[in-house]
Subunit: 221 residues, 2 copies
DNA sequence: CTTGACATAGAACAAATGTTCATTTATATT
DNA sequence: AATATAAATGAACATTTGTTCTATGTCAAG
């Protein structure tokens, strides 16, 4: 991993774990939690490696204070206590229905330009490229999504196997939400409904346009 | 201080101290550090006030984890003097699966007794009798609910027409989630799947036990 | 005046958590 | 091969930290 040339693999792993833990929980991990994740059974080895990371300027620690490991973050995406708080509201861009391509965000959202939708605290970590769409119609029931549901999307145009995506099928002139799998050396795409009782469909990559990835669904009743 | 009308002065002080401490140090304060700043010499009084702040939705805590106090970051302007603040977290009671009756809350929840689930700000207005269950299995797909989904329930034993309820069918020994409609002068119950492509079932009221009402569904992908 | 809910207080205890120590292993250098 | 340094290991211990318990005080409602 070229990001940290002067660190061992273990030390890189520790830095990344601390960053992820802080983002997810809002407080730093303990020595033992770091050891569990990194596979170090001895608290003194964790402490030894943290001392190295501190000496090299990657972290700071306060002696005899629980959970006092803090990253000194040199990356572009500076993580600090305030900005690590995930958003509670995201913009609602519009609607998603079978017969229309979904609205796609252009540039950054201007505050107040869109209606806002409340999301759970742990559903969105970084609001960049994330937005909500409301479902119109019953065409998404194969994705176990009902009319009126709110879909939380992250704008991306490529997808990995197993990710739930919104795709526009040009020939059929239809939007569909399915799990995407590449097959036959990327010459075929299998779109798998979330409902296990339903069959997948197969499309050529040229007929398909990935418009975003689904990261959550919210249904009010 | 008009910003937190439903908090005592001490509780406001605690919220502000937590925010300042987190910003300055990058990790949350301990119970004793909060006590020192606010002038509370007893750790149980600090803990009591933190429990109140958690119940009112200002902070979250994790039981028996050091420095696990986290602010739930609402803008000061969003605190409305006229309304109670809706909860951002509710207790997760357990699981729901087809072959078992759902866990039913008994009495009020003891703080910290259950794992907490994040919900959207506008999904729950009053936490009383509200809890979450996680779906195990694919038996709920007729309700457009997937394995792993989180269902937000309000404990109630009676239902109006059209409400989505969890019912236990004694003869079938099964839990199902469907919209309930009374028919033939309350001598028959029609249970309507949320999936419009599926047929309803009809049961006698004596065979059915309403265990709660579904008020929302959350799906993380 | 009584009662119940809320808030406070201190002590004791349990558990979480960080540090120290003795020892071993791995690696680099001479 | 010898030596020095870095890295690892587990155990023991010290300290931090959160929870529980018992008791008391305040205040509003009946």
């Amino acid at each position: 991993m070229a990001n940290y040339p002067d660190l061992s693999n273990r030390q890189e792993h520790i830095v990344k774990f601390i960053r992820e833990f802080m983002a997810e929980y809002g407080y730093p991990p303990s020595i033992r939690q770091i050891g569990c994740d990194v596979g170090i059974s001895s608290t003194s080895v964790v402490s030894y490696n943290l001392n190295v990371l501190q000496r090299k300027g990657y972290i700071t620690r306060t002696r005899e204070i629980s959970r006092s490991v803090r990253l000194v973050d040199l990356d572009d995406n500076e993580v600090d206590a305030e900005s690590s708080i995930p958003p509670l509201f995201i913009p609602m861009l519009g609607y998603i229905a079978a017969g229309d391509p979904i609205p796609i965000p252009e540039g950054e959202f201007v505050q107040g330009e869109f209606e806002e939708v409340a999301v759970p605290h742990d559903m969105v970590r970084d609001i960049k490229d994330v937005y909500a769409l409301q479902v119109r119609g019953t065409s998404m029931v194969d994705a176990l999504i009902a009319d009126g549901d709110i879909i939380i999307m992250r704008h991306q145009t490529e997808a990995q196997n197993g990710e739930m995506v919104a795709v526009w099928l040009a020939e059929e002139k239809a939007t569909t939400l399915k799990k995407l799998y590449w097959e036959k050396n990327h010459t075929l795409v299998r779109l798998q409904p979330a409902n296990p009782l339903m069959e997948p469909i197969f499309v050529h990559p040229g007929n398909l346009e990935i418009q975003g990835r689904v990261i959550g669904v919210i249904r009010h009743l």
